[in-house]
Symmetry: C2
Subunit: 484 residues, 2 copies
C-alpha cells in the first residue's frame, strides 16, 4: 500500500525536479550566452586586451624557465619565485605603466635592501637581547615614515608603489636577518630576481604589440574634441527641428557621444602619468609635451559642460513657443554651432595626424566669431519689441551658452597651436597661412584662405546684412562684454 501511494508521488516529484532543473538549465544557458556575448564585445572593442592577456601568460612562462632549467635553478633556488611575483604585479596593460612600476620596484628594492642591511648591522651591535628590539624600532620607524610620505599627493601620483615596495623590502630583509646571517646574499638574490622579472616584463611589453599610454592619450584627446564637434554640427538641426520629425536612435546616440568627455579627467591624468615613463616611440619624443595634452583636455571638458547645458535645451519644447523668434535667430545659432563644430573637428584631425591645423580651422573660428557678433546685432535690434519676454529666457540662455562655446573653441585652438609648436608637428598648408599663430587675425577681415577652403560652402544669409562686417567700436565693446 505504501509503495502504491508513493509511486505517483515519486513520479510527480521527479517531474517537478526535471522541470526545475530544465528551467535552471535554460537560465544557465541564457547566462552563458550573455556572458559569451559580453566577452566577445569586450575583446572586439579593444583587441589589444586579448593580446595583453596572452602576453601575461607568455611572460610568466618565460620566468618559470628559471625554475624548470637545472642550471638556472641551481643559481637562484627558491628565490626565483621573486621573478614570478614581479612579473605578475609589474606587467601592466601599457608600456608606461609597466616601466613605471618596474622602475619603482627596482629602485625601491635597491634602497630598501641597502638600508635594511645597515639596520641589521646596527641592531647586531646591541647584543642578542637588544637585537629584536632595535629591529622592531627600525621597522616601526621606517614603516610609519614611509606610510605618511605616501599621503603627499604628488608622491602618491608617481611613487606610491615605490614606497610600498620600500616598506616591504626593508621589513622582509631586516626580519629575515634575525634568523639568517647571510643577509647581503638575501638582498642580492631578491634584487636580482626582481631585475630579471622586471626585464622580462619590459621586454615582453615593448616587443610584442606594445600599448603606448602616450599614443592612447593622444588619440583620446583628439577623439574627445571630435565628439564635441559632432554634437555642435548636429545641434542646429536638432534644436530647430519641429517636434513632429522623427529621430532615429542612431542619430540620438551620435549626439550623446559627448557625455563620455565629461568624466574623462581621471583617465587622461593616469594616461599622462604613464606616458611620462615611456621612452620615445613612433613620432613621440621622450619629452613629448604630455602636460599640454592635459591642458587641452581640461578646456575640452569645460566646453563639454556647456554642451551638456545646451543638450538640456534640446529636450524641452520651449524653442517652439515663438516661431517668429525662432526664425530670426535660427540662422545665426546654426552658424555658430556649425562653425565651432567644424573647427573642433579640424583641430581633432590635426592632433590625430600630428600636423598643423589646416587654415580652414582659422576660417571656421572667424566665422563663428562673426556669427556671435551678428547675434549681438540681432539682440540690439528692434525685432524683440513685441516679443513675450518669457519665451526669450531659454533662447537667451542658449545664446549665452553658444557664445561661451565659441570662446572655448578659440581657447582650445590656441592650446592646440601651443601643442603643435611645442611638439614640432609638421605643417601641411604653409602656402595659405604664412603667419604662425593664425588664430589672432584682426576680427573684421575675412581670411584669404576662406576662398579656396572647401569647408565654408554653407553660406549663411545674415539676418542684418547692412550691419554685418563693419567695425563699430561700441558694438565690439559690448561683444567683448558678452564673451562671458
Amino acid at each position: 500500500m505504501e509503495l502504491e501511494s508513493t509511486s505517483p508521488e515519486k513520479a510527480g516529484y521527479f517531474a517537478r525536479v526535471w522541470k526545475l532543473s530544465k528551467g535552471l538549465l535554460e537560465k544557465l544557458k541564457a547566462k552563458v550566452v550573455e556572458l559569451t556575448l559580453k566577452t566577445i564585445k569586450l575583446a572586439k572593442d579593444d583587441p589589444r586586451r586579448v593580446v595583453h592577456s596572452l602576453k601575461v601568460g607568455l611572460a610568466l612562462n618565460l620566468v618559470s624557465l628559471l625554475y624548470y632549467l637545472r642550471p638556472l635553478y641551481d643559481n637562484f633556488g627558491v628565490s626565483a619565485m621573486g621573478a614570478v611575483m614581479t612579473v605578475v604585479v609589474v606587467l601592466e596593460y601599457s608600456v608606461g605603466a609597466t616601466l613605471g612600476k618596474g622602475l619603482n620596484r627596482g629602485f625601491a628594492t635597491l634602497l630598501g635592501g641597502a638600508l635594511s642591511v645597515g639596520a641589521h648591522h646596527l641592531a647586531c651591535l646591541s647584543g642578542e637581547r637588544g637585537e629584536p628590539i632595535m629591529l622592531g624600532f627600525f621597522i616601526f620607524l621606517q614603516a610609519a615614515a614611509s606610510t605618511f610620505i605616501r599621503f603627499f599627493p604628488k608622491i602618491k601620483a608617481r611613487y606610491d608603489y615605490a614606497l610600498l615596495i620600500f616598506i616591504l623590502t626593508f621589513s622582509l630583509i631586516s626580519v629575515s636577518g634575525f634568523r639568517d646571517d647571510e643577509i647581503i646574499e638575501l638582498a642580492r638574490k631578491r634584487l636580482s630576481t626582481i631585475l630579471i622579472g622586471g626585464s622580462v616584463c619590459v621586454i615582453v611589453s615593448i616587443l610584442i604589440c606594445p600599448v603606448w599610454a602616450g599614443q592612447d592619450l593622444h588619440n583620446l584627446i583628439a577623439s574627445n574634441m571630435a565628439k564635441l564637434g559632432n554634437f555642435l554640427e548636429g545641434f542646429g538641426n536638432e534644436y530647430f527641428k519641429t517636434s513632429k520629425e522623427g529621430e532615429s536612435e542612431a542619430e540620438k546616440s551620435f549626439l550623446q557621444q559627448y557625455t563620455s568627455v565629461l568624466a574623462s579627467k581621471s583617465n587622461e591624468e593616469s594616461l599622462a602619468n604613464f606616458a611620462k615613463w615611456e621612452p620615445g616611440h613612433g613620432r613621440f619624443q621622450f619629452r613629448h609635451p604630455w602636460n599640454q595634452y592635459l591642458k587641452i583636455g581640461t578646456l575640452t571638458r569645460q566646453c563639454a559642460y556647456r554642451i551638456d547645458a545646451l543638450n538640456g535645451y534640446l529636450n524641452t519644447e520651449i524653442q517652439h513657443t515663438s516661431s517668429e523668434l525662432s526664425c530670426k535667430i535660427e540662422e545665426v545659432y546654426r552658424e555658430m554651432s556649425l562653425e565651432c563644430g567644424k573647427a573642433l573637428k579640424e583641430l581633432a584631425l590635426a592632433v590625430k595626424t600630428m600636423s598643423q591645423p589646416s587654415s580652414a580651422t582659422n576660417t571656421h573660428i572667424e566665422n563663428a566669431k562673426s556669427a556671435a557678433k551678428n547675434l549681438n546685432y540681432l539682440l540690439k535690434s528692434s525685432v524683440w519689441e513685441d516679443t513675450d519676454f518669457l519665451a526669450v529666457v531659454p533662447v537667451a540662455a542658449v545664446a549665452s551658452l553658444l557664445i561661451d562655446v565659441v570662446d572655448f573653441t578659440e581657447n582650445i585652438a590656441d592650446s592646440v597651436y601651443e601643442l603643435t609648436s611645442k611638439a614640432n608637428f609638421k605643417r601641411i598648408d604653409v602656402a595659405h597661412s604664412p603667419e604662425k599663430p593664425q588664430i589672432r587675425q584682426p576680427d573684421n577681415t575675412k581670411s584669404p584662405a576662406m576662398v579656396d577652403c572647401p569647408h565654408v560652402c554653407i553660406t549663411v544669409n545674415e539676418p542684418t546684412p547692412a550691419l554685418s562686417g563693419n567695425g563699430n567700436p561700441s558694438v565690439t565693446k559690448a561683444m567683448g562684454d558678452l564673451e562671458l
Copy 2:
C-alpha cells in the same frame, strides 16, 4: 713664486666655495622649512593620517613576532615572510579597504592554491618530460584567462586584487611544485600565513582608531551639499554688489569651496566601494544604502555644474549695465538663491546628524519655488519694454540657471528623503510635519511650519504683490516649461 701666485687664487677659490656652499645651505634650509610646514599641514588637515602611519608600524611589528619568537618560528619557518608581506599590502587607510583587500587576498589564495594542487597532480601524470610543458600550459591558460577577466568593468571595481592574487598563487605554487613535492604543505603554509597577516591587519584596522569609509562617504556627501548651500547663500550679495565694494580673500575662498564638489566623483565611488565591505559600525547597519549616497552625490554634482556656470557671471561686470533692471530682479534672485542655499544646508545638516530633514527644509524649497514663480510673473510683466535686450541676455541666463538650481535642490531633497526612509533616520520635529514625504505639498499653500520657523525671517518684498500667490493655471503651466 708659484706658491705666492696661487695663494691669493686659492683664497679667492675658497671664498667662492664658501659663498656657494653658504647659498646652497640657505636654499636647503628654506626647502627643509617648506617641507616641514607641508608635513605639518598634511598631518593637521587629517590627524588620522598620522595614526594610520603608526598603525602600519605596529602591525608590522606584531607579525614580526612570528619570526622573533622561537616557538612560532619553529612552526612557520621562512614562510612567515608571507605574513609580513600581507600586512604591508593589505593594511589600507580605511577599514573597508583593508577588509576588501584581505578577503580578496584570502579567497584568491585559497582558490589559487586548490587549483594549482590539482594542476600539479595532472601535470605529474604526464611523466618527467611532459610535466614542465603541462605546467607551462596551465599557467599560460589561467594567467591569460584571469588577466582578460580583469578587463570586465564590474569585476575590476571589486575583485581586481583577487584576480591578481589568484594568478600569483597559482603560478607560485605550480612552479614550486616542480622542484618540491610537498606542494600541499606549501599551499597550506602560504594560506595560513596570509590568514595570520590578514587577521592582524583587520584587528589593528578595526580596534585602533578605525577609519570607516562609510562614515567618510556620509560626511563627504553632507559637506558637499553644505558647500553648495554656502555658495548660494552668498550668491545674491556677490552678484549685486557694486564693483567698488571690497572683498576679503577669505570671503572669496568661502564662495569657491564648491569647486571641490565638481571633481569628487571618483572619491565618492571608491568610498562607496570600500563601505560595502564594512560591517555595521556606529549608527550604520551592514546593508546601509550606500548606493543612495552615490545618487545624492550625482545630483549634487550636477547642481554644482550649474553653480559653476553661475560663478562665471559673478566675474563679469554685466550685471551693472542696467541698474534699473538689476533693481527689479534683485529681490527675486536673492530669494531664489538664498532659499535654495538654506534648504541645501538644512539637508546637509539632516544627513550629517542622521535625522529627518527639519520642516524648515520644506519651507525653504517652497519659498524658492514661489520665488521662481515670481520671476515668471516678472518676466511676463511690462517692465522690460524699454530695456536694451543685449543687457538682458546674461540676466536671462542667470535666471535660467537659478531655475535649474531650484529644480536640482528639489531633486536632492527628494533623494535625501529616500535615504532617510531607506536608512531609518530618526525624526526630530514630528509635531510640525505629520506627512512623511513633505516635499510634495500643493504649490500655493504656505506651509504652517513657516510661522514658527526661525530661518524664514528674511521676508522679501515681492515686486508684483498683486500677482503673487494666486493660482493662475496658465502661469503655472508656463512655469512648468521654465523648469528646464
